[in-house]
C-alpha cells in the first residue's frame, strides 16, 4: 500500500471513521450547529467554525465524477497493485470521496452508480472500495440466499 501503516482506529479525529468502516458502515461528521456533512474528517466545521461534530452513518451510494487507471506505480508499494482504478465519488449524501474502484476497468464510466464495499486491510481495519451498484446489490442478494 502507499500508506505502509494501518489506519489508527484510536486517532482523535479520523478514528471514528475507521472504527465504523471496520464494521462496514460509512460514517462522516455532521455539524451539530449547522448540519453540514464534513469530509475529510476534521476537528472544526469548515462551514460555520463550530468545534466537534457528530459521526453519523450515510448511505454508501454515489456517482462516479471521474476516474483514472494507474498503469504505473507512482509511489512505493503500488507495484503489485497496478493496473488499478481510482475515482472521485459524489455521494448521494453530498460529500465527495476519493476511492478505489473495484470493477473491470472497461466497464467504468463517468456518471456510473457505485456503492461501497468494505475490504479488510490487515486484522480489523477495512477500507471502502467502490463497486458498480447493481453488482453490489446482486452480491448482497447472493449473500442473503446463502
Amino acid at each position: 500500500m502507499s500508506s505502509p501503516s494501518l489506519p489508527d482506529l484510536d486517532h482523535p479525529v479520523e478514528g471514528p471513521f475507521w472504527r465504523a468502516a471496520a464494521e462496514s458502515r460509512l460514517e462522516v461528521q455532521g455539524c451539530e450547529a449547522c448540519g453540514y456533512l464534513r469530509w475529510p474528517p476534521a476537528p472544526i466545521c469548515p462551514e460555520c467554525g463550530v468545534l466537534g461534530g457528530r459521526w453519523e452513518p450515510i448511505p454508501p451510494d454515489g456517482t462516479i465524477w471521474s476516474f483514472t487507471v494507474y498503469h504505473r506505480p507512482l509511489a512505493p508499494g503500488l507495484a503489485d497493485e497496478v493496473p488499478y482504478a481510482v475515482g472521485l465519488i459524489e455521494l448521494d449524501a453530498g460529500v465527495r470521496m476519493i476511492g478505489r474502484l473495484s470493477a473491470p476497468h472497461e466497464s467504468l464510466a463517468i456518471g456510473g452508480r457505485v456503492s461501497a464495499r468494505f475490504a479488510p486491510i490487515g486484522e480489523g481495519p477495512r477500507l471502502p472500495e467502490w463497486r458498480p451498484a447493481e453488482e453490489h446489490a446482486d452480491a448482497e442478494a447472493e449473500g442473503e440466499r446463502a
Binding site: S3, W39, H71, L74, V86, M97, I98
Partner: protein, 379 residues
C-alpha cells in the same frame, strides 16, 4: 492611491544549466542563478536590499537565511515561500516593493531534485488519508481525472491533448536550455503507454535539477538599470483550500474567477496578450488555463490546440521555452525568465515579433493559482 504607490519591474533574469547537476546542492544552484540574474541586471549585490527564496520540494533547503549567508548578504527584507513557484514569489516581491520594504529584490529557486531522487509519489487527496490509501498519488492521477471529465463534458480527444506536448516540443527544439529537444509527433505520443490513463509520459513534467532567478525593482529605479525593463502590470491570485469540498474542484473553475479579476484590474483583454506561459505540471493545466483565461470558450480548448494555435507560427504562442514538459521542471521560474527574454527581444530563433504583453500563470496543485501580466511598458 497615494504618492507612495509604485509599480515593480523585472530588470534581471538568471538561469543555470538544467538537467542533472550532480554533486551540487540546491542552495549552490540557487546562488548561481542569483549571480547570473545580478550580472544580467548589471547590479552589484550591494544594491540588493531584498531576498525572496523558495524551498526545494519537500526539503528544508532554499531558505532566505541559508542563501543570504551563502551570498554574503544582509538585505533589509528577506522571506521564503514553502511553495515559491515564480508567480507566487514575484507577487511577494511586488508587494514588498510597493509598500517600501525593499527597493531592489532578488528572487530565486534552486533544486537538485533529480540527482537527489526526490519522490513525487505523494498523496493527492486534499487532506484525506483514505484517498492516499486508495492509491491517489502523484499529480498525474487527479490530472487524468480532470482530463477524462473534460472528455466526457466536451468530447475532447487524446489527439487534441497531444498537441500540448507536441507544440511545446517544437518550441523546445529552438531553445538551447531545453532538456527534451527531440521532435515528438502526435503518432509517437499516442503510441506511448498510459501512466495514469488517459495521460501518458509526455503529459507529465520531467524531474530536473537547475535554478532560476529574477531581479525586481521599482519602475523608477528600473529606468536607471535597464532600458528594456519588464513591467508587472497585473497580478491576481486565488485559493481553493477546501479542495474536494469545492464542486468540480479538479476542473478548477475558480481560475475563471481569478482571470476575470486579472483582466478587469489590468485593463487588458486576452486579445492583448502575445504569448502565454503556463506552469505545466501536466498538459491538462494548459488545456484548462487556455479556457479559464478566456483565450477560447469553455470546452473549446481541445479544438484550439488541435488547430495549432499554440505552436510556432500559431496565433497564441504558449510556453515558447518548451515548458516543464520539454525544457525543465523549475516551478515556473524558467517560464518567467523566458517571458522576460521574449519581451526584451532576446529569444533568438523562437523570438515572437512585436511582443508587448504576456500572461504568466501558475497553479499549486488544485489548491491555489497565481497569474501575472508582464509588459514592455508600465501601465
Amino acid at each position: 492611491m497615494s504618492g507612495r504607490s509604485r509599480t515593480a519591474a523585472i530588470v534581471g533574469v538568471g538561469t543555470t544549466a538544467q538537467g542533472e547537476l550532480p554533486g551540487r546542492s540546491a542552495n549552490e544552484i540557487a546562488a548561481e542563478a542569483i549571480e547570473a540574474a545580478l550580472r544580467d541586471a548589471g547590479l552589484d549585490k550591494s544594491r540588493v536590499d531584498g531576498l525572496i527564496t523558495c524551498k526545494a520540494p519537500r526539503t528544508t533547503t532554499g531558505t532566505d537565511e541559508q542563501l543570504g549567508q551563502l551570498l554574503g548578504m544582509n538585505p533589509r527584507f528577506g522571506a521564503t515561500l514553502d511553495y515559491g513557484s515564480a508567480n507566487f514569489s514575484l507577487h511577494l516581491g511586488v508587494m514588498a516593493v510597493q509598500c517600501g520594504l525593499a527597493e531592489t529584490i532578488v528572487l530565486a529557486y534552486g533544486t537538485n531534485q533529480r540527482t537527489a531522487r526526490a519522490s513525487f509519489g505523494v498523496g493527492m487527496g486534499g487532506g484525506s488519508e483514505m484517498a492516499v490509501r486508495a492509491g491517489l498519488v502523484h499529480v498525474a492521477g487527479p490530472a487524468a481525472m480532470a482530463f477524462r471529465r473534460h472528455q466526457h463534458l466536451y468530447g475532447t480527444t487524446e489527439e487534441q491533448l497531444a498537441m500540448v506536448a507536441v507544440a511545446q516540443r517544437e518550441w523546445a527544439a529552438m531553445n538551447p536550455l531545453a532538456i527534451f529537444r527531440k521532435p515528438l509527433t502526435v503518432e509517437e505520443y499516442l503510441a506511448e503507454p498510459y501512466v495514469a490513463a488517459p495521460l501518458r509520459r509526455s503529459d507529465l513534467t520531467m524531474i530536473s535539477d537547475g535554478g532560476g532567478a529574477l531581479v525586481l525593482t521599482t519602475a523608477e529605479r528600473a529606468r536607471d538599470t535597464r532600458a528594456d525593463a519588464v513591467h508587472v502590470v497585473g497580478v491576481a491570485e486565488q485559493s481553493a483550500f477546501r479542495a474536494y469540498q469545492n464542486a468540480d474542484n479538479l476542473m478548477r473553475p475558480w481560475l475563471g474567477e481569478m482571470a476575470s479579476r486579472l483582466w478587469s484590474e489590468s485593463g487588458l483583454v486576452p486579445d492583448d496578450i502575445g504569448a502565454v506561459y503556463i506552469q505545466d505540471a501536466t498538459s491538462v493545466w494548459v488545456l484548462q488555463m487556455l479556457e479559464w483565461y478566456g483565450f477560447c470558450g469553455l470546452g473549446e480548448g481541445g479544438a484550439f490546440l488541435a488547430e495549432g494555435r499554440t505552436r510556432p507560427g500559431g496565433s497564441l504562442p504558449v510556453n515558447t521555452n518548451g515548458g516543464q514538459l520539454s525544457e525543465s521542471y523549475m516551478w515556473g521560474w524558467l517560464h518567467m525568465c523566458e517571458a522576460v527574454r521574449q519581451l526584451r527581444g532576446e529569444a533568438g530563433e523562437r523570438q515572437i515579433p512585436g511582443l508587448e504583453h504576456v500572461l504568466d500563470c501558475s497553479t499549486h496543485d488544485f489548491l491555489k493559482g497565481a497569474a501575472s501580466i508582464l509588459s514592455t511598458h508600465p501601465r
